[in-house]
């Protein structure tokens, strides 16, 4: 994963709430077995029908409950591969938020009026280290889990980090918790 810190430039605005992952990347594009090639299908139906048009700017601003619905990480790949580096919204669905952070794609939660001000300003600067978003005439701070921030800033690979806890995992597996649940390989 690539390290990120400062994301700045023009803002694209998608003025809708409850934007679900079925819209971000419709299911007919989920059949690929690769991680690439999703950018051109971003918001496929809305863009093709001329309902919206979006520039691939560094920052996307949208309404509350962004990324709701399906857990498809393809939604994050599509946003990222289309050209966005960060998405700013008043709230996100949990799984989508987590998927973003696993891909070095920054989800930023700002209050609704701040989102609107950033959208109106047309351009902005996100500073992850200092947890600050600024735009002409305003700025706001945002919260982010310190551990997630550390991983994003360092571009750290989650799996490699967890494998540093290998001894703990082995100890857990040897303890009483290790044999909880079924043995799938012994089913008929």
């Amino acid at each position: 994963m690539e390290a990120i810190n400062i994301i700045e430039g023009p803002v694209s605005v998608l003025d809708r709430s409850d934007v679900d992952t079925d819209q971000i990347i419709p299911k007919q594009f989920l059949k690929r077995v690769e991680r690439t090639g999703f950018g051109e299908f971003l918001f496929y139906d809305w863009i093709r029908d001329g309902e919206i048009s979006l520039e691939p700017n560094p920052i996307l601003v949208s309404g509350r409950n962004f990324g709701s619905g399906s857990s498809r990480e393809h939604a994050v790949w599509a946003l990222d591969q289309f050209g966005f580096d960060a998405v700013v919204a008043p709230s996100f669905s949990d799984i989508f938020f987590s998927n973003c952070t696993k891909n070095g794609f920054l989800p930023v939660m700002l209050d609704e009026p701040d989102c609107e001000a950033l959208a109106a300003a047309g351009a902005g600067r996100i500073d992850l280290e200092n947890q600050k978003v600024s735009w002409e005439g305003g700025e706001a701070t945002f919260d982010i889990d310190p551990e997630i921030k550390r991983r994003l800033l360092g571009g750290l690979d989650d799996i490699a980090l967890t494998l540093q806890a290998e001894e703990d995992i082995e100890a857990f597996e040897e303890g009483p918790g290790g044999s909880y649940g079924p043995v799938t390989t012994s089913l008929p």
Binding site: D22, Q23, K27, E34, D94, L163, I169, G181, V183, T184
Partner: protein, 461 residues
């Protein structure tokens, strides 16, 4: 100190602070190929194939295609075959097209006895919340996390907040667990459970059968919840007894499970009370599951909503759905009926739907289909003759899979078609581009199929 069921399960699975051990990893063809590929690229093994199981569900045709290599759609064929190859290469048991135990991942877990109380269960699918009905902590993850679980059998997780929804009283006649959860989401909103693990409790929940409980937990994600849970009890144990995956010493297991329910006096971050006696059969009118009203109501009028954002969403939704404010819900006429999906495709759902038919026929204006959630549900239904009842009435009887729940396979709505669906999402285009979805219970869907419009099943027989 008294603890919630969630806290007990969480603490029993902490390998380190915020690193939790996963007891069961369910895998399907859509969200796994990139994860398997990631393992290969980094030269890692799949750590515990014995805690992993794979099935093909999203992409599979439901027309009786017997094996993956005969799937007509090239990309779907490749995805299902890739799953089979990956599972073989990493030693994971796989139930693909043609297997007797193939089916929707959230249907086969419980029916094989893989889903058990006290477990942590994940899957690259948001409706993993379904499995929480057994008193498990079960939630959906993304593909990067799928790879993480494959490599480490653990997951890095912030501890979520807890919510309890207490239902007082019992559901009335004709009112199902689908209506209970739709009404709850309508009340709390699609983000109302956001960030929470939700425990459903109270008299109305205890009265539900196991399969009805699965329907409730299934739609937790539609309320934005991370996971839904219901305390295990006799109903749970009776349902599990004799299933292939359950512990050999079942009675000893029950003794362990009996410690799971939330202790008296344990506190939740948020508690809500809902009067179950007031819940009516529900129908969605819009493009989120929270846009829902009682079947005896009318399509809401956006101009009467005070929040501008809510008004705009409602206007958009009505336009998309081709509906006028004020129209009685019972006057809405679907052209399609879909009984299926991980919300409502289990044997009891099909029994209820079949029982409601009573020799009547599907209306001429309607194309209706029944899609069992798994190959096992299908054969059980056929043993009971339900397939004949459905077909005699004019329903199509299909093979197991996700089918028209998400239209990733040949079962889709065409532009503008309106569907009464027992699935869980009514998003724009979910069942096919331009398709219009109304979420309902299986009996409500059956009644709509026969009458050609929605009816209040409380006064329909």
């Amino acid at each position: 100190m008294p603890k919630t069921m969630f806290e007990k399960i969480w603490e029993a699975h902490e390998v380190r602070d915020e690193l939790i051990y996963i007891d069961l990893h369910l895998v399907h063809e859509v969200t796994s190929p990139q994860a398997f590929e990631g393992l290969r690229m980094s030269g890692r093994n799949l750590r515990r194939p014995d805690k992993t199981v794979a099935t093909a569900d999203h992409n599979v045709p439901t027309d009786g295609t017997p094996t993956a290599k005969l799937i007509a759609d090239t990309l779907s064929r490749k995805q299902v075959q890739t799953l089979e190859q990956n599972a073989a290469a990493f030693g994971v048991p796989v139930y693909s097209l043609g297997s007797e135990t193939q089916g929707i991942v959230h249907v086969i877990g419980p029916e094989l006895g893989l889903t058990q109380p006290g477990m942590t269960i994940v899957c690259g699918d948001s409706h993993t919340s379904t499995h929480g009905a057994f008193g498990a902590l079960a939630f959906g993850i993304g593909t990067s996390e799928v790879e993480h679980v494959m490599a480490t059998q653990t997951l890095v997780q912030r501890r979520p907040k807890t919510m309890r929804i207490n239902y007082t009283g019992k559901l009335g006649p004709g009112v199902t667990s689908k209506d209970l959860i739709l009404a709850t989401i309508g009340r709390l909103g699609t983000g109302g459970m956001s960030g929470y693990v939700v425990e459903y409790a109270g008299e109305a929940i205890r009265e539900l059968t196991m399969e009805q409980r699965l329907t409730v937990c299934n739609m937790t994600i539609e309320g934005g919840g991370r996971a839904g849970m219901i305390a295990p009890d006799e109903t749970t144990y009776e349902y599990m007894r004799g299933k292939p995956g359950v512990p050999d010493d079942f009675d000893a297991a029950i003794e362990r499970w009996e410690h799971l329910p939330t202790d008296e006096g344990a506190t939740f971050d948020y508690e809500v009370e809902i009067d179950a006696t007031q819940i009516a059969p529900m129908v969605t009118w819009g493009t989120t599951p929270g846009m829902v009203v009682e079947v005896s109501d009318r399509v809401p009028d956006p101009s009467r909503m005070d929040q501008p954002a809510e008004r705009e969403s409602a206007e958009r939704a009505l336009q998309y759905m081709g509906l006028k404010a004020g129209t009685p819900m019972e006057e809405i006429r679907p052209e399609r009926v879909f009984i299926g999906s991980c919300t409502n495709s289990r044997i009891s759902d099909l029994r209820e739907a079949a029982a409601a038919i009573k020799g009547r026929k599907v209306a001429d204006s309607i194309r209706a289909m029944v899609v069992p959630g798994s190959a096992m549900v299908k054969s059980q239904a056929e043993e009971e003759g339900l397939d004949i009842i459905f077909q005699d009435a004019g329903f199509e009887w299909r093979g197991a899979g996700c089918s028209m729940c998400l239209g990733m396979n040949p079962d889709i709505l065409i532009e503008g078609e309106r569907c009464a669906s027992t699935s869980n999402r009514n998003f724009e285009g979910r069942q096919g581009k331009g398709g219009r979805t109304h979420l309902v219970s299986p009996t409500m869907a059956t009644a709509a199929a026969i009458e050609g419009h929605f009816v209040d099943i409380r006064n329909w027989n």
